[in-house]
Amino acid sequence: MAEELKVFRTWSSPFALRVVWALQLKGVPFETIYEDLSNKSSLLLQYNPIYKKVPVLVHNGKPLAESLVILEYIEETWKQTPLLPQDPFERATARFWARFGDDKVLPSIWNVFIKQGKEQEEAMVTAQGSLKYLEEELRGKKFFSGEKIGLVDLAFGWIANLVDVFEEVKGVTLIDHENHPLLLAWKQNFMDAPIIKESWPSRDKLITKYHAMLEAYTAKEAAAK
């Protein structure tokens, strides 16, 4: 049977981008279906009834949701260009950092972007604490995964392009040369890496999108008071 592989994504979702990168790095062909999250397709709802989100991977008719789960499936199914190390301890460490990114780094940076006043200040403290761990983790390494891009780099990929969008829209500094020289070097290496660099969503479109999001959120909060 011919291999049928579909990826449901949006143009901007950083989580879906992880899946796209993983498949492209492994040279696995796939069909892309763009979703409009304000008008979700019946297929998306059928394939991801629990969360109703992107990304969804459908392999020979069988759906999978949650980007980190999908990445591990891709890694186990297509073994070329490995994204995870072989050693169980190193694998556990990679999984730890990927989860840390989604559970701690992303929410705190998001709160720096979306919140105001005291809530934003507290979020900044948390975010800086998290970023410090990332900076330390990069010591002696080009990528989080070592010499080559791996699962952890894909998981942190949003840091390479979205953080400065947040910084520009909000007028705040999250990552700087004094505190995060290694993270900035990683960002440049990741942004410029083959395959990765061809798939970034348009920065202008992201600026517009997040500008609108921040305005809408701020207005809603003001109205609620």
Binding site: Y73, P88, F89, R91, A92, F96, R99
Partner: protein, 219 residues
């Protein structure tokens, strides 16, 4: 090289219990160290500096943190018997999805069921019920979440059984009445020595929570 396995944990943690079940399933000998979370040991702070939480598995001096990551690690290292995850990549992905769901949706709501009152508690209960309804749907008529054999998702969820009496008492509902399929599955899991010997008595957990609620100023 000798296999030295140490587990930093607390007896009441439903996360720590997952690791203990996995270790028991594989027949792994280990040293158990009970942590006092109000006075964390230097070892814990050294082995989990990022989160400072239990459980932490220390294997030949190297730490592995986060209970689901630890269970996968155990499965990968001690891979000669009692597999905890399915062999098929798609089944494995489904197992990871549901274990992740349990952490994202179940573990996040249970605390609110026994620490809140009034409207907040009603909202928490509603979320709790919706989540367990989804889990009952996923279990269906299978003996275990993974199918014929006890595995990763069962381990992720069954540890909460020791806390059911807490949720029932403070939430004022009955798991047996609301989720009979889940309770049938629980009883099946409790037939396994690894589960029965790991899970503490529900009344003991309840006793601890009663004290905790007083300390938190809830009673």
């Amino acid at each position: 090289m000798a296999n030295e396995v140490v587990l930093l944990d607390t007896w009441v943690s439903s996360f720590g219990m997952r690791v203990r079940i996995a270790l028991a399933e594989k027949g792994i000998k280990y040293e158990y160290k009970e942590e006092d979370l109000r006075n964390k040991s230097d070892l814990l702070l050294k082995m989990n500096p990022v989160h400072k939480k239990i459980p932490v598995l220390i294997h030949n001096g190297k730490p592995v943190c986060e209970s689901l990551i630890i269970v996968q690690y155990i499965d990968e290292v001690w891979n000669d018997s009692s597999p905890l995850l399915p062999a098929d990549p798609y089944q494995r992905a489904q197992a990871r999805f549901w274990a992740d769901f349990i952490d994202a949706k179940v573990q996040s709501v249970t605390r609110r069921v026994w620490t809140t009152k009034g409207e907040e508690q009603e909202a928490a209960k509603k979320e709790y019920f919706e989540t367990f309804k989804i889990l009952e749907g996923e279990l269906g008529d299978k003996p275990y979440f993974g199918g014929e054999t006890f595995g990763f998702v069962d381990i992720a969820l069954v540890t909460l059984y020791s806390w059911f009496y807490v949720y029932e008492s403070f939430g004022n509902f009955s798991m047996e009445a609301e989720f009979p399929k889940i309770m049938t599955w629980v009883k099946r899991c409790m037939q396994k020595e690894s589960v029965a010997k790991t899970l503490p008595d529900q009344k003991k957990v309840y006793g601890l929570v009663v004290d905790l609620r007083k300390k938190l100023g809830l009673d």
